[in-house]
């Protein structure tokens, strides 16, 4: 299942990221490749962090989904 909205990384422990979504929904996702840090907005699919979303585009993304 793909989460089609950007979530924000709140914690990274080894390769495991904690990702926060609106309504305080929290998901765990694995970082396989790429460099991510706390605060980054990301797209998660099937438990994997697949892409970073620049902060400036998050609002546009959420608007697109609405």
């Amino acid at each position: 299942m793909c989460l089609a909205i950007p979530g924000q990384i709140t914690k990274i422990k080894t390769c495991q990221a904690t990702v926060k979504y609106p309504q305080n929904d929290i998901k765990q996702a694995k970082i396989i490749t790429g460099s991510y840090k706390t605060g980054d907005y990301v797209i998660v699919q099937a438990g994997l962090v697949i892409e970073k979303v620049p902060k400036k585009q998050v609002e546009m993304w959420n608007k697109f989904i609405q």
Binding site: K30, I32, Q45, L48, V53, Q57, I65
Partner: protein, 159 residues
Amino acid sequence: MSQQAQLLFLKYAFPCAGITLARGHICQKEYDKLERAVKKNQLIDWQTLQKIFAPAFRRIKKMSCLTGQNIFDAQTIRDYYLKYHNKFIDENEGSYKYAPPALKQLCRVERAKIIDVQSDCYIVKIGQKLRPVSKMICLNAKVGDWVSVHYGYAVEKLK
């Protein structure tokens, strides 16, 4: 109307169903049905596919006006996704006009080389960038194979 084309269309179109779901154009039940079908190679009738993926069909029809191809043919579907789909994104056709660049990047269909096979994904190289992609739709690719990638999914092995 070949069944092969139906299956291939679903493989290429399914990766954007997550966005279709998030935008409220389909419900969770419809999404789950599509996911089940794509996993098990089950047929979904053209009428349903055309309703759910209306923008993709509109673009395939536009392409077929130029090329004269039958839109219900597997090679037409493949040609659309590999040769024309990204052009529509680049031209900001339809709702791409309102999509952020990062989303449009994921919406592109790319040719990618598999550099690693892990238990839950393939690691592919697209240009200079590495990306993890789901194995769900294209199960039996090996390191060195070229696959098409749409959103976070490997779609099919390419020759």
